[in-house]
Amino acid sequence: MMDKIRKTLDKTSADFAEVNMEKNWNNKIVLNNAEVDKVRSGNRTLFGVRVLNNNSWGFASSNDPDDLEECVKKAKKLAKVSSKNSINARLAESPINKGKYKIKPEKHPNDIGIDEKLERCLELSKNGQEKNIKSTTLQYLDSHAKKVYVNTEGTELTYKPVRSFFVYKAFTQGNKLLQASKRDAGLKGVEILDGKEKMVKETNKKARLLLKSRSPPSGKMTVVINPKMAGTLAHEAIGHACEGDSVINGKSILQGKKEEKIGSEKVTIKDDPTLENFFGSYPFDSEGVEGQETTLIKEGRLKNFMHSRETAEKEEVKPTGNGRAQNPSHFPLVRMSNTFFCEGDQTEEELFEGIEKGVYVHGMKGGVSNTNSGYFQFAAEYGQLIENGEKTKPLRDVTLVGNIMKTLKKVSGAGKEKMLGDPGICGKAGQSVPVTDGGPSIRIESILVGGNKNGKNPL
């Protein structure tokens, strides 16, 4: 395939052209209440051609490999359409990369029959059928692919990733239906199903705990956020504001603030796709640029943004290997990989010390942030009241609201132990990519906590 692409690209007169091609195989198992809901397998091929001509972009994609030559021509034609009022795109220089990469999981999805995978999932799901658990859903997905990247500068890369994803949800019925879920995902194979009994039991326990939980107090207070919520803060509130395209387009509050102190000494945040086998890891991005560690904030000082080749050129820096596309039929955008708060030096006890009344925030259900204003709002899976330095009553529907420009300065503690491995799918401009986030537990002196049952303040 590499040769065919190279030959086709050799024929184009465009200033720059690149091809991403992928063939992937997928399996999916869905179980409800320990019964099979769906089992599905399949494969597909897809590719995309991106052409830069006269500083204007054109893009064409198809899933029929015979269309390759036609797509190169089409993309060049579309670059002409863009050139009438173009953004004047230029690419930062990037080394010519050649290499073959492969993920070698313990248990390759191809080596294990779908019946065996299903049996294992059924076994896990049966384990979850417990008292007070009204309903459960278990989902398992695996995929492996052959990826090829070729550009007119000479870069030629192949990559055979293997990915798996596991999620378990448990529902309990109080006045309303309550849901708890846990997941695992990474560049790994069927071994993801090993030892998941513990995760199933923990999720059930969490769902039952929600039955006893109440809404948190509202108002500004001291909180300790656990590694999952720290990851959300790193990814949603800071990471998105550090994406080169947002910065350049004036959509980030961090524009023009490089080298400024925007957080306390306790705040160091990095993005790193080279960490081994996490969900957001990769050897090279969709522009053929090698993945690399990027320090976004070091001890409170804003150091770097993440870039594609195009945004790096505009900022006159080197590309950071963050130009990612959901798949070859999409245009690469500046995206994160594995984004996290770095560990500090405090013990768990020290983090809670002296908090008279506060909230300990566990996990996260999701988050949004406005990169323009720095505003963020995150919903936690659940929480606990902190009273006199001790964790007490369980809480649900805890929401944190703040602004990174204020909140990062109020970070007063970071735990010794970092946990990275909360995998997720990050959406931007209609494209979804696998990412991971994390960090240690973080203490924030003052942040707005939103509850919702007014007048039922448990404090």
């Binding site: 997928n26 409800n32 209440n33 099979v36 809901d37 769906k38 089992v39 599905r40 397998s41 399949g42 494969n43 597909r44 897809l46 995309g48 972009w57 054109g58 893009f59 064409a60 198809s62 899933n63 029929d64 089409k74 579309l78 359409v81 863009s82 009438k84 009022n85 953004i87 779908i114 019946d115 299903l118 309903s135 859903t137 529902f171 309303k176 239906l177 309550l178 849901q179 809404s215 509202s218 387009n249 004036g250 245009f331 259900k365 999701g366 988050g367 949004v368 406005n370 323009n372 204003s373 709002q377 919903a379 649900r396 529907d397 929401t399 609201v401 707005l448 939103g450 919702n452 007014n454």
Partner: protein, 416 residues
């Protein structure tokens, strides 16, 4: 396709092939300049085979993989326990889903249209982003019971984001019919940005007016999940045993696949079942669920595939909310109009509790929208909201798949 079906039939009790053929084109601008021009096409097949009263699914994009896909589906059928009875040929109702004008648009036209959007936005604010997209989708479903249905649809999206100071304004149009009025989309985004500039947070309890698009997002997260027949069968809906019970104020909520050029308009679903108008709520009483061939009730024609690689699942078509009576919901002494809320994926979908950020909002004074509001949270519970509606607006709005009015209720906003 017939050949593949023939092969599959030989080894199975029944078989179905779904073929999806898609073409899309887009132009996107950033700060008024063309960021990219893009075109894409894709074709693929989803296979469903039943053997020994169980069903297996597989998919493929290249025809040469058809034999292997049949084998895989047969193997998977052994493991699945949900038998699906494929439909016989039935008559479908004609719907308006295809606009020749969309098919005829070339990239020079798209470039011209996007210039008009930006011109509209520029009259009031800066142009942050804009996009024009077109889609042409062809679907064919054939099955071993003689059913052979085909449909063709087009879609047109015009989208604009304006910016003034730190405030943004968004407007869009997404239907199966071309709209030449794209300047208005740009203009509206610009106007909203301009009016929102300098918005401040506030704390407020009282009359709150919710925009129809915000209402549709709430419905999507809660009620429309509750009426999903699959969730009912699994016991994961709040409305499991509530048919015939009062679930809301006295409005009607209907799944209507026949609205002309609506984003969800279609004559049959992706399982070849003719679509039908389904009353979900009538005068506040829960009447029906939405079903496909896999649920324990008869299919309502709501089995859709998001792609050829995905298996059919339940989805809505167009949703129509009809109020019992109408008024000018803005006609209050003091209130807040919530035009845009962000973070819906943060809301607790199972309980209906929410605390969402107001992206664009305005104070209402003596029936008029006045100062902008942003950076504060609308908090409450959606199930409570739809049981305490104080008024439905005079006019309906339909931008995509939802048609309905703005509503007014007594709610709470928490400032920071």
């Amino acid at each position: 396709m017939e050949k593949i079906l023939c092969k599959a039939e030989k080894k199975a009790e029944s078989a179905e092939i779904y073929r999806l053929n898609e073409q899309n084109s887009l132009i996107r601008t950033s700060q008024g300049k063309i960021e990219t021009s893009k075109t894409g096409k894709s074709k693929g097949y989803g296979l469903r085979i039943t053997r020994n009263s169980s069903t297996g699914y597989s998919y493929f994009s290249e025809k040469k993989h058809a034999d292997k896909a049949i084998k895989t589906a047969l193997k998977l059928a052994k493991m699945n326990k949900n038998p699906v009875e494929l439909p016989l040929t039935k008559k479908t109702r004609k719907t308006k889903t295809f606009d020749k004008k969309i098919q005829e648009l070339d990239f020079d036209d798209l470039a011209r249209l996007i210039r008009r959007i930006n011109k509209g936005t520029n009259r009031h604010a800066e142009t942050l982003k804009s996009q024009i997209s077109t889609y042409i989708v062809k679907v064919r479903v054939i099955n071993s019971r003689g059913t052979d249905l085909q449909k063709k649809s087009t879609s047109f999206l015009a989208y604009a984001v304006g910016k003034k100071k730190k405030a943004t304004g968004i407007d869009y149009y997404f239907k199966k019919k071309f709209s030449p009025k794209v300047t208005e989309v740009g203009e509206k985004a610009g106007k909203i940005a301009k009016k929102s500039a300098g918005g401040k947070p506030l704390s407020f309890t009282g009359d709150i007016v919710i925009d129809p698009e915000v209402l549709s997002s709430f419905l999507e997260k809660t009620v429309l999940r509750d009426v999903n027949g699959k969730k009912i069968d699994k016991g994961q809906s709040n409305w499991n045993e509530k048919i015939g019970e009062k679930v809301s104020d006295e409005f009607n909520l209907t799944d209507d696949p026949f609205l002309d050029y609506g984003a969800g308009t279609t004559s049959f679903d992706d399982e070849a079942v003719p679509t039908s108008k389904t009353t979900l709520i009538k005068k506040g009483v829960l009447k029906n669920f939405l079903d496909n061939l896999e649920t324990s009730r008869e299919s309502t024609g709501n089995g859709f595939r998001s792609n050829y690689s995905s298996t059919p699942s339940i989805d809505t078509t167009n949703i129509v909310l009809e109020p019992p009576e109408r008024e000018n919901v803005f006609d209050v002494k003091k209130g807040v109009f919530v035009k845009n809320l962000s973070g819906f994926h943060n809301m607790n979908a199972s309980t209906g509790d929410f605390a969402l950020n107001i992206g664009t909002g305005f104070r209402i004074k003596n029936g008029k929208k006045t100062k902008p509001v942003r950076g504060c949270m609308l908090t409450g519970n959606f199930y409570n909201m739809i049981n305490k509606i104080k008024g439905f607006h005079e006019e309906d709005e339909q931008k995509t798949w939802f048609k309905g009015p703005a509503i007014r209720y007594k709610g709470k906003i928490v400032g920071s």
